[in-house]
């Protein structure tokens, strides 16, 4: 299988001059450097380009071409050439080992190129697999996944306030009012409608008030507080107010019903 005389020949032809396509104008070299993913990639390129048999690599040719390339590369982008120089050393080592005469007793010695060939084949397989993966349709790039709209906001609807909660809150207002009770009962005309407007106006500017804030316990007598409460109920009935409570016994909030 291994014909040593093929080292200096490609398909029977003497191989002495550099192939034309190996010459890359120095200005264009950086573009090429970007195109190769490493020394293995460059070697594969050379093998493919020159139609070399990967199972029977002519080491002398390959090494010579490779070194020429790396020398050019080194002149421009030294730090990138480090991985490539390591490969140069490896190629030269393989080449030298092949030149050494084999001792007769070790006829079955492994081909010095075996490891390089294994790595090249492994890399080529991965390179092709990567291209395949890249071409595969992916979600967002070739695959469109159905995603119909589903309104989930209904799951966090505001808690309902029961009448009991409201009554309870009202009792608290009265209870507190009793501490500030005035003994003088005014003759002021108490209008529920007027209080409705008053409350609406306060909420216009405050946007949202705690239920108890709507009552001026310190100054208003019970009749006025009652009127105020009636006004709130009336506003709620007419759908002008929204009354909410996060949970039982927590503060009740009143705000303008802006749904309309």
């Amino acid at each position: 299988m291994i014909e040593t005389q093929r080292n200096a020949k490609i398909k029977g032809e003497e191989f002495t001059t550099l192939p034309k396509d190996l010459y890359i104008p120095p200005d264009a070299l950086e573009v090429y450097l970007e195109a190769f993913e490493g020394p293995l990639d460059l070697l594969l390129y050379l093998i493919r380009k020159h139609n070399l048999d990967i199972l029977d690599i002519p080491m002398a040719d390959l090494t010579r071409q490779y070194v020429v390339y790396v020398e050019k590369m080194r002149a421009i982008k030294l730090e990138l050439a480090a991985d490539y120089l390591l490969m140069s050393a490896m190629l030269i080592e393989i080449k030298s080992r092949m030149l050494l005469p084999k001792p007769a007793e070790i006829a079955e010695e492994d081909d010095p190129r075996a490891e390089l060939v294994r790595r090249l084949m492994e890399y080529e397989a991965i390179k092709l697999a990567a291209q395949r993966l890249d071409e595969m349709p992916k979600v967002g790039d070739g695959i469109s996944v159905a995603s119909a709209y589903f309104e989930q906001i209904s799951l966090v609807k505001p808690p309902e306030v029961s009448l009991d909660d409201l009554t309870e809150a009202w009792r608290n207002v009265l209870k507190r009012a009793s501490h500030f009770q005035h003994h003088k009962v005014g003759r002021a005309e108490l209008s529920v409608r007027e209080h409705m407007s008053l409350i609406l106006r306060r909420l216009q500017s405050a946007r949202m008030l705690e239920f108890t804030e709507l009552f001026d316990i310190a100054h208003d007598g019970i009749p006025k507080l009652v009127v105020c409460f009636l006004a709130i109920l009336e506003l709620a009935r007419e759908g002008l107010l929204r009354i909410t409570q996060q949970q039982a016994f927590s503060p009740i909030y009143v705000q303008i019903n802006s749904d309309e």
Partner: protein
């Protein structure tokens, strides 16, 4: 009480759930849709029927690694992609080759990746793959330095429309030039 008694209705519930879900739904997810106990075999049968029901329509019910999802049939891709002309940025060859090594040779360490590619692994490449949730660390190799072992995620399989790694395209072997 039977909230969804007949097969038509059960399939409708599954369909609504699958169409509105942003993630593939697993069998367990779907069993939670129903208050009554359902055999997994029954659920699979319903899904099969649902798939048949949609056979002539624009969406197809497919199974990927984390479950089932509806997706547009391939023939509409050309049209649908026009809605998003800002084409996704292509990953570099380094990223795709690293992904391929992890996908086909997992679990692997950085060292394994470097061995195959012949160059050092750029940390940026690993970051991109991890940010995309295609790759993550599944453990450490018990050698000095305890290097991280990388593997592909379920999300990777979902995104590539695969149920398992077996479905990856087979690796091609280097073909020597004809003699």
């Amino acid at each position: 009480m039977n909230e969804a008694s007949n097969i038509r209705e059960l399939k409708n519930v599954l369909e609504a759930a699958l169409l509105t879900s942003h993630q593939p739904l697993s069998l367990d997810d779907m069993l939670r849709l129903f208050t009554e106990r359902m055999e997994r075999a029954t659920l699979r049968m319903l899904l099969d029927e649902l798939k048949q029901d949609w056979a002539e329509r624009t969406m197809e019910l497919v199974q990927v690694a984390s479950g089932y999802r509806f997706q547009a049939r391939e023939k509409y891709t050309t049209y649908l992609m026009r809605l998003h002309p800002e084409k996704q940025v292509k990953y570099s060859r380094a990223v795709m080759e690293t992904l391929a090594i992890i996908a086909y040779r997992q679990p692997v360490t950085r060292g394994d990746i470097e061995e195959v590619r012949g160059v050092a692994v750029n940390p940026n490449v690993m970051r991109q793959l991890q940010e995309r949730d295609w790759v993550d660390v599944v453990g450490q190799r018990e050698v000095p330095g305890r290097p991280s072992l990388y593997a592909t995620t379920k999300h990777f399989l979902n995104d590539f429309n695969l149920r398992s790694l077996d479905e990856l395209p087979p690796m091609e072997v280097f073909v020597p030039p004809e003699a």
